[in-house]
Symmetry: C2
Subunit: 505 residues, 2 copies
Amino acid sequence: MNKLQRLRALDTEAQLVTNIGAVLGWDQETYMPPAAIDGRAEQLAFIESLAHDKQTNPEIGDLLLELGSTAQNPLGDPSLPALDRSYLRVMRRAFDQATKIPSAFVADMAKAISLSQAAWVKARSDNKFKDFQPHLERMLEFNKRIAAFLDPAKRPYDVLLDRFEEGGTEAQVASVFTPLRNNLVKLLDTIRARPQVDDSCLRRFCPEADQADASAYLMRILSYGSDSGRLDKTAHPFTTSLGPNDVRITTHYHEDFFPSAAFSTIHETGHALYELGIDPSPEYKRTSLAQASSMAVHESQSRLWENMVGRSEGFWSNHLPEFRRMLGTALEGVNLDTYYRAINKVEPSFIRTEADEVTYSLHVILRFELEGSLMSGDLAVADLPGAWNDGMKRLLGVVPPSDAQGCLQDIHWSMGSFGYFPSYALGNLYGAQWWDAMKRAGLEPEQAVREDRLSDILAWLRSNVHKPGSMYKPDELVRMVSGKALDASYFMAYLNAKYARVYGF
Amino acid sequence: MNKLQRLRALDTEAQLVTNIGAVLGWDQETYMPPAAIDGRAEQLAFIESLAHDKQTNPEIGDLLLELGSTAQNPLGDPSLPALDRSYLRVMRRAFDQATKIPSAFVADMAKAISLSQAAWVKARSDNKFKDFQPHLERMLEFNKRIAAFLDPAKRPYDVLLDRFEEGGTEAQVASVFTPLRNNLVKLLDTIRARPQVDDSCLRRFCPEADQADASAYLMRILSYGSDSGRLDKTAHPFTTSLGPNDVRITTHYHEDFFPSAAFSTIHETGHALYELGIDPSPEYKRTSLAQASSMAVHESQSRLWENMVGRSEGFWSNHLPEFRRMLGTALEGVNLDTYYRAINKVEPSFIRTEADEVTYSLHVILRFELEGSLMSGDLAVADLPGAWNDGMKRLLGVVPPSDAQGCLQDIHWSMGSFGYFPSYALGNLYGAQWWDAMKRAGLEPEQAVREDRLSDILAWLRSNVHKPGSMYKPDELVRMVSGKALDASYFMAYLNAKYARVYGF
């Protein structure tokens, strides 16, 4: 066995252990009896610790060095094929991230997160930001130390961003988000000047069983779930990879608002199709190269299918009749135009996860701006509620009536996750840029959707975006696929055209 | 940490890994997408190998020796408390069984089993015993070698029996099975002389969803499943422990014969209640002491609940009205007497797993007698089909029309499992002996069932049978609880009284 083969074998075993942890996690969220929770926590802790041991095996470090991969030159020996060099880059990155942060620190942070999350749950329920404030301050400190462990020479927020979007920096993200923000605010103003859309047709009672049938239908027409996936019900929808050919999604059902389940199903199906489509080459199956390029690229897949396909008129011109049949009285007498406009209603609201396609990115940009200011020290944690409300007013024109519906709404910061939020909006931009690249490749995706050739879109995404996995950094991927760096103009052009139609301007 | 604490810690970690394997196995049988099978096999192989490493950790062997536990004196240091000494016995036994059989042999046997099982499936489907014969011969040879590894001084079949029924020998089992066999044949003759019962009321169409409701109802009235268990659907029903407070059962549904699901659910619930009831003491939770005393004692729990409770008139006098409501037309107009007699119809048949309460043990005794003869060499594998058919004629008065319905029907031998079959019938005997012990303790279980005080029966079983786990060998347990050695007379007295009522003699 040569050094690369040995490295792949060690990596594959670490992936296998991670997948076993995913089985335990999936079961916990779906079918585990409630009293099993303590035992399951021990099982998960055991598997996570084992996965960490596998990932930080010193032999991996030795092999990387022997193959010429260092922090300065992660790609290693220049004589190696490109695929192998990408693999060394990915492994060097993962190994450094796993080994540079001391175990004692990780354990301390885990304890602090556990307290912080409990405090956040209570503070949100009591609407008392002050009670959460010291925990948020600790989470910020932990993140600054993580950044210092990983790369003390860089700006801390840049180091944190890079964990989720390789190569991303605050300046680069801001250069994309600033025009996006300005244009979204402008579009939102235009929309608000128009008569509001009536979406009452989406709010009729719809039994969970009918919604489950509809979700199964959506999965089927999107070519997902027959033999390598499945759908289950959880409190919050998610996608998880339990092993090769085993990527599962979940959804939730609200009987007074069926689109929540339907669009969650399409969203998570987009994530699952990405995971299932990754296939860098036989020897890199089941390695770290068979993973997403970045969290934002992952989000581009869920949001492209959910919004650009799933909320399009062409899509529903084909599938509304079947939906009407499955959902019975819930959609009785609702015509395509009414339905299409209803599912695309734009309305500034307080909660990110419930936001429409136009306002969603503004929620994210607010969090990005605040994270940056918190991390640089320009904003004190004590001043977060005021800054949040100011930002909401400035970007969305609404002010939340409480911190519970404001700066306490998301779980991310309470669990010490900084630098993740931008992925949600970057995903929209990548998605629109893939869409445009399809057009320039002659695929005409709108027409494919209208003609119910969704598999043409999937095939294009598979060969251009899914297949290479993490062989390319997100910036390399977008330049290769679209010929350009990431840019908000594609997404804005898509939104402007779509909402001119929905709101008639 | 003292030596016993250290031993418990090593054991608990091995149990935890085994439980993780059970999660993977449960998922594979219930919800795993079909294409995931190869990846899951690798995950299971990894976990099983890790569990084996944990169980055979040489430190366990050192600790056992330091605590005075050897093959000759497994209980160890006589000054230790009884509970600790039982624990040493259990650990010595498990350690020896895991370490005395060489890994290379285990791997060879695993490969041979895989070929044998495939050959068995085909031979059964083709009804060609000859094609399976060489595999069965190999399985016998492997088992003789296992016996020689474990204890070359003992008769091989005694060594194999002891793996499932600690302390059991062929002579001891025969001393119980011989009167059982003779009395069962006599009872069967009496029953066959009476007019046959009509069970057509059990064969009306009954939708799966209604049967699932009925299973949920049965679990509920048996105090199982609300927070530490659950029921799912699989090809073959089973019970599995996934961790502390997490014991799950499965069932299957036949829409033209609902009792199959209902009684499987009660049967597996009996197993699950045992697993959940084991609680030897705080320090022995999650160790090997928190396991069943033997496979036969396990089977006593499933069969006691399924047959002595679940097929009793008292039980259905309370629950038939609700069943009639849940199953609608499937039970419309069926009165208690008709129903009670129908679910207790006795009819010699070819297939063990479909046998009634009277003939079931005869199927098992046949296998026990044949296993013993195969192992001693008195019976050649080539002569098995003839011996099988002779035995069926002698015990049940019927001869299977094919080997597929005869000596090829069970999976056990094809997977190299010899010595397990007796547990199925021994379970009936233990069950009846517990029942009698309840009576002598003043509980009057029939009356408790009639008065719908099932929890009184469960409470007695918990404190007398479940709680000690494997602290006592099965023979010790039965003497302690009933004051006597295992004996077929309790089971026969129960059957004679019951079937005199069912068949009116």
